[in-house]
C-alpha cells in the first residue's frame, strides 16, 4: 500500500548549513495495517509523515502509494494534525462537509454523510457550533470526521491526541480503534507515547534520535478488538511496553 524507499531529508538551517532530519528510511506498510512511528522529540517523525502526505518533498528516496510515486498531497491520504487545523469560520457541519463538496459530491449527499460521521464521533447536537466553542477533544473528533468524510484510504495522524489530557486521550484511542475496526484503513500514526503505540498498532517503528533512522520494528501480536482495561493486566502487553521503552532510552545509542 505505502512503500517508503531509502528516504532521507535534510533541511537548510538559518546558519546556512544543512541539517539531516531523516536518514535512509525504508518501510512498507500493507493495506489495512495500523503502523505507529515512535521516537524521541525532534527525531523526524512528523517530517516522515509530511513527506508521505506530499506536503514536504524528500531530499532523496521516494514514497509510493499503490505503486504510484507521491508528488504532492491528495485525497487518498488524509492528514490529522496535533493542531487540529479546523477551518474556524466553518461550523462543525461545514468543516466535515468541506472535503466532500471539494470532491464534487452533491450538497445533500455531503450533508447526510457529514451528519452520520458527526454522530459516529459522538458530536451529535454540535453540528452548528464553531470550532472556538469546542474543547480540544471535540475539535480533534471534528478533524477526524472531516478527514474520514472524503474517504482517504490512508490516514496520516501526527500525534493527534498529543494536545489532549490523559483521560480524553485514552477515550479517543478507543474511539479511533472502533472507527478503524469498521473499515480497516491503512494508518500511519505518529506518537511519542510507547503505550499508545502498543495499544493501537499492528507494528511499531522505533526511530533513533536525530537524524531519524529506523532502529527497530516490533510486531504487536495482541488480539483485537483491544480493550485498554484488559490489556493493562495482560502480561504480553506489559512486555511489549517494557521492551520498547528499553529500546527508546538505550544508552548504547550514540550519534554518528
Amino acid at each position: 500500500m505505502i512503500s517508503i524507499e531509502r528516504l532521507s531529508k535534510a533541511f537548510d538551517t538559518a546558519r546556512g548549513t544543512s541539517h539531516l532530519a531523516l536518514s535512509d528510511i525504508s518501510l512498507d506498510v500493507a493495506g489495512g495495517e495500523f503502523v505507529s512511528i515512535l521516537g524521541p522529540s525532534g527525531c523526524g517523525k512528523s517530517t516522515l509523515l509530511y513527506i508521505v502526505g506530499g506536503f514536504v518533498p524528500p531530499s532523496s528516496g521516494a514514497v509510493r502509494v499503490q505503486g504510484a510515486a507521491v508528488t504532492g498531497p491528495g485525497p487518498d491520504r488524509g492528514p490529522v494534525f496535533q493542531e487540529f487545523a479546523l477551518f474556524p469560520w466553518k461550523t462543525v457541519l461545514g468543516n466535515v462537509m468541506y472535503g466532500l463538496l471539494e470532491q464534487g459530491a452533491p450538497k445533500k449527499i455531503a450533508e447526510d454523510r457529514a451528519r452520520a460521521l458527526i454522530e459516529m464521533v459522538h458530536l451529535k447536537g454540535y453540528e452548528n457550533f464553531y470550532p472556538k466553542e469546542l474543547s480540544g477533544g471535540m475539535k480533534q473528533r471534528v478533524a477526524i470526521a472531516r478527514t474520514l468524510a472524503y474517504g482517504p484510504s490512508i490516514l496520516l495522524m501526527d500525534e493527534p491526541f498529543g494536545a489532549l489530557d490523559a483521560h480524553t486521550r485514552t477515550g479517543m484511542q478507543h474511539e479511533l480503534l472502533e472507527i478503524w475496526e469498521r473499515d480497516r484503513k491503512t494508518v500511519l500514526f505518529v506518537t511519542h507515547s510507547v503505550e499508545e503505540a502498543v495499544f493501537l498498532s499492528d507494528r511499531v517503528v522505533v526511530l533513533t534520535r536525530s537524524p531519524g533512522r529506523i532502529k527497530e520494528i516490533s510486531r504487536i501480536d495482541l488480539p483485537r478488538p483491544r480493550r485498554r482495561a484488559e490489556l493493562l493486566v495482560d502480561r504480553r502487553y506489559q512486555d511489549y511496553v517494557v521492551a520498547i521503552e528499553k529500546l527508546m532510552d538505550d544508552p548504547a545509542e550514540v550519534r554518528a
Binding site: 498531497p73 492528514p79 494534525f81 487545523a85 469560520w89 472535503g99 471539494e102 464553531y130 472531516r146
Partner: protein
C-alpha cells in the same frame, strides 16, 4: 459604575455632552470670533443639512469616498494576501510600500492634480492610496499568519493553490483584514476632506474652507461636527458588520483606529 458603562450608547453620549459643554464654556470665557459657542454652531447644522447645494456637496464627497474605498479593497486585499503567501510577491511590494507608507497621501495631491486635474479622479485616487496601504499591510500580516496545517488539510482535499488563497487564506485572514479596513475607513474620511481642501471645487471640504474664508465660523464648526458624525456613523456601522462577519473568530483582535494619512 460598571453598570452605567454597560448601558449601550450611554458612554459616548456622556462624552459628547461633556465635549459640547467644555466647548460652550471655553467660547464664553475666551470670547474670540474664531471660536463661536457650541449652541451657535449647532444651530447651523439644520441650515446646512436642509440646503440643497450643501447636501449635494456632502453626497458628492461620500460618493468619492465610497468609490476610492471600494477600489482600494478590491486592489489591496488580493495584493496583501498574495504577499503573505508568496515570498517573491512580498519581496517585490515590500520596498514600495515602505516608501509610500509614511508619506502623507494628501502631500501627493498637488502632483496627482498635475496628471489628473482637480476633479474627481485626483481626489478618488488619493483616497484609494490612503485606504490601500493599511489594508495591504493587515491582509499581508493576516495571510502570513495562516496556519500551515490548515492549508495542508485543504490541499489534501484536492484544493489547488489558487483555491486555497481565495477560500482558505482569505477567510482565515479576515479578522486581521478587518483591522486594516477599519483603519482604512478612518483614512478614507481624512483623505476625503484633505483632498477637497487642496483641490477646491466641491465637497464637504469645500464648504468648510469657503466658510472659513468668509469668516462664517459657525458654519465651519457645524461642518466639522457633520464630518465627525459621519465618521462616527461609519465606524459604528462597520463595527456591526465586522462583528457579524467574524463572529466565529477567537476574540484576539482588540482593534484601535490609528494610522498615518
Amino acid at each position: 459604575m460598571t453598570r452605567l458603562t454597560q448601558i449601550p450608547g450611554l458612554p459616548p453620549l456622556v462624552a459628547a455632552a461633556g465635549l459640547l459643554a467644555a466647548w460652550e464654556l471655553a467660547a464664553r470665557v475666551f470670547d474670540i470670533s474664531g471660536l463661536p459657542p457650541a449652541h451657535a454652531a449647532l444651530r447651523e447644522l439644520p441650515v446646512i443639512l436642509t440646503d440643497k447645494e450643501s447636501l449635494l456637496n456632502i453626497l458628492d464627497s461620500i460618493r468619492r469616498m465610497v468609490v476610492g474605498f471600494a477600489f482600494a479593497l478590491v486592489f489591496a486585499i488580493p495584493v496583501g494576501l498574495m504577499m503573505g503567501r508568496s515570498r517573491l510577491t512580498a519581496a517585490f511590494f515590500n520596498p514600495l510600500l515602505m516608501i509610500i507608507y509614511p508619506v502623507p497621501k494628501a502631500a501627493l495631491m498637488p502632483i496627482i492634480m498635475l496628471w489628473l486635474g482637480v476633479g474627481d479622479a485626483s481626489k478618488t485616487l488619493v483616497i484609494f492610496l490612503g485606504v490601500s496601504l493599511p489594508v495591504i499591510y493587515h491582509a499581508y500580516q493576516g495571510a502570513r499568519a495562516v496556519e500551515e496545517k490548515m492549508l495542508w488539510s485543504a490541499a489534501a482535499m484536492g484544493m489547488d493553490a489558487r483555491a486555497r488563497l481565495t477560500r482558505i487564506v482569505f477567510p482565515a485572514a479576515l479578522p486581521e483584514i478587518m483591522v486594516g479596513v477599519r483603519t482604512g475607513l478612518v483614512l478614507a474620511l481624512i483623505t476625503m476632506v484633505t483632498s477637497e481642501m487642496i483641490a477646491r471645487k466641491q465637497g464637504v471640504g469645500d464648504i468648510l474652507f469657503n466658510a472659513l474664508a468668509m469668516a462664517q465660523y459657525e458654519t465651519v464648526y457645524a461642518t466639522i461636527v457633520i464630518i465627525g458624525l459621519l465618521g462616527f456613523v461609519i465606524d459604528v456601522g462597520f463595527e456591526r458588520l465586522r462583528a457579524h462577519l467574524v463572529a466565529w473568530a477567537e476574540p484576539a483582535h482588540e482593534i484601535a483606529a490609528v494610522g498615518s494619512t
